[in-house]
């Protein structure tokens, strides 16, 4: 009987089985940021412990960083204290730090892959639930809490429970105008937000095989929104092409050996799965969430579900909070804010898709500027992404269209920096969570969708099927 990638990589990294039945797992790559680590370093200090493998931990600042007017000390004294603590801790422990002072910073899940730190066949941890993003490379990557960050710092290992593996297969072809974000939201809507608890999701089939690394990252990123702490795609030539030549990628003779190792981690053809689900990709349409968790979504052309539909959920709370009504369409609903960015959709390809939409509209002689009364933020996932947008001319296109192009950070995905919703503003957002209050206002409302759909909403001022934008009068 063959093994899955999850089983192979897990076994390779197992230090021992613990008396509790859990496994002690070696962590190959540890990524840290300013929010979930200061207490972990304090706990180490209290216990007189040192960082055991400082060369396996990499740091950056993303959650609290302002996206404009960055001067030190930061205007928010609490944010300044967190940034200063991170700087102190990485300095004292000789941890490589991608700092804003050197223009190297970015969202931790954008930065790891673009530097070549994230590689197949690794175990990767970070005090952030969206660590699942790195599974796009065929790594076992998962989010941990602060006490576990302490354990990784102190020992480079963790006590973990082995997950079951579910193969999530998507066959056929995606329709035009359907993006990776739609795939992620579709899968969550089909499986439910809790289905992934206890599972690693192996994302398989033609669609994921054809996907670019950026698209794979978007779907793996959202695995955790479907309850699965781990989501991964098998490494293949797309993965290796992406990695070749990056700063921390292996080189020369080591590169050849690396590819052989990465290939050997792929799930065997006769691997046994604990569960298999299959979906037809051609069913998927552009998806928009309407509720207060990422499973509450409809195709953009659909109508909102009945309040007491199927399943355990009562949707009244969601409808009350979102100020929406069952049976109505979502398309045409006015928005006040548009946000393009985050670890889900803050990579260069996401902004390139938006720039292409704007250019296509311009070529067709149509208006391609942000609608009056809409605040539109474009926040690159990293300094490298920002530089690429400028170099390729996409920054200029976005700016001319009325998007406010900022410095990189998590920004309005969770509003720990100054970027946030006000009052009950409705935001079309490329981020990953539409939880109550998530974007910084306790009454703020979030509609999750793909970057192109957010752009369509920004340009028209209402929720819009981006595929329809090219139709109709100029």
């Amino acid at each position: 009987m063959g093994k899955t990638l999850y089983q192979k990589v897990f076994e390779r990294h197992t230090v021992r089985q613990l008396p509790s039945g859990q496994h002690q797992l070696f962590v190959g790559l540890h990524l840290i940021h300013e929010v979930t680590t200061p207490q972990a370093f304090s706990m180490l200090e209290e216990r007189g412990l040192r960082v055991a493998y400082p060369e396996r931990t990499f740091a950056t600042v993303d959650h609290i960083i302002p996206t404009r007017g960055l001067t030190r000390p930061l205007a928010d004294p609490e944010a300044e204290a967190m940034l200063a603590a991170l700087e102190r801790n990485v300095e004292a422990s000789s941890i490589r730090y991608f700092s804003q002072a050197r223009g190297e910073n970015g969202i931790v899940h954008v930065l790891g892959p673009e530097r070549g730190l994230t590689q197949p066949g690794m175990t990767i941890c970070c005090g952030d639930s969206h660590t699942s993003t790195h599974g796009a490379f065929g790594a076992i990557a998962f989010g941990i809490g602060t006490s576990q960050v302490r354990d990784v710092l102190a020992t480079q290992t963790l006590a973990v429970t082995k997950l079951k593996v579910r193969r999530v297969e998507l066959y056929g072809r995606l329709a035009r105008g359907v993006y990776a974000k739609d795939v992620a939201l579709f899968l969550i809507a089909k499986l439910g937000v809790q289905a992934g608890v206890g599972y690693a999701h192996e994302l398989a089939g033609e669609v994921f095989e054809r996907f670019s690394m950026e698209e794979r990252m978007t779907v793996c990123n959202m695995s955790v929104e479907g309850g699965a702490r781990v989501g991964y795609v098998q490494p293949d030539s797309t993965t290796y092409d992406y990695l070749e030549g990056r700063e921390f990628s292996p080189r020369g003779a080591a590169w050849e050996r690396a590819v052989r190792y990465w290939e050997s981690t792929r799930s065997d053809a006769d691997a046994r799965y604990d569960d298999v689900v299959r979906f037809d990709a051609s069913e998927i349409e552009p998806v928009v969430t309407w509720g207060i968790h990422p499973g509450q979504s409809i195709p953009v052309g659909g109508t909102l579900p009945a309040e007491n539909g199927q399943g355990r959920e009562n949707l009244r709370e969601a409808y009350q909070y979102m100020q929406l009504e069952p049976g109505r369409p979502l398309a045409g609903t006015p928005i006040q804010v548009a946000f393009i960015g985050s670890c889900t959709n803050g990579r260069a390809s996401d902004f390139a898709e938006v720039a292409e939409l704007i250019l296509a509209l311009r070529r067709a002689g149509k208006r391609a500027t942000v609608a009056p009364g809409v605040r539109a933020l474009a926040v690159p996932g990293s300094q490298a992404v920002r530089a690429e947008l400028i170099q390729r001319g996409h920054a200029a296109i976005l700016t001319e269209a009325g998007f406010d192009l900022r410095e990189p950070g998590c920004s309005m995905c969770l509003a720990m920096n100054p970027d946030r919703l006000e009052g009950d503003e409705l935001c079309a957002s490329t981020s990953n969570r539409n939880f109550k209050g998530r974007q910084g206002s306790p009454r703020g409302r979030t509609l999750l969708m793909s970057p192109v759909m957010v752009a369509a909403a920004a340009l028209t001022g209402v929720v819009t099927d981006a595929r329809r934008l090219m139709e109709g009068p100029a």
Partner: protein
Amino acid sequence: MSHAREDSATYDARTASELRRARITGRALPLLGDDIDTDRIIPARFLRSVVFEGLGEHAFADDRAALRAQGGLHPFDDPARAGASLLVVGHHFGCGSSREHAPQALYRRGLRAIVGGSFAEIFFGNCVSVGLPCAQLSPADLARVFALTSQDASLELSLDLTRRELEVGAERFPVSLPEAARVAWVEGTWDSTAELASAAEETRRVARSLPYMNEFLTETVD
């Protein structure tokens, strides 16, 4: 590493007896609703701190304020529930962000155990790390426990992890939870650092054997 191991052993010896969580007794704080995420448990703006101290007062800050504005009363603000130590919740409690601040806030609010329909995975792991036992009830039993505890705020509850049982007044309900977590809470071994550090030599051996730790000179996976 050797001096570090001794220090952590001392640390554990000092606190081992305080770490046991075999039986948690107290009054209930019933909180209806499924898919309650960690952003609701502790909104992100309260994470702007380098310590966990003070988080307790901000647990469910936005939900509580929203209810107050409507003239309602959140269970966390109900004087009849003051001093309650067992939180009763629905399904998929603690979904979303990996912030350990969520269980930290609940613990610092005075809660000492959570019983409910089910728990999100990272949240559950963080509850192991902070010594806040979580136990699962069947849907029918959960409905009964909600009914009993909602009616009577003075009712005494006792969660016995050794017997895997929740007592609510005169009634008893079986609870389930992963064995590794149960043992860690019962025996007070949930602070894992010392145990992990005790395998430093085995850890080094595994590290040396990993292809990406040695220029990919060991390459195959069995």
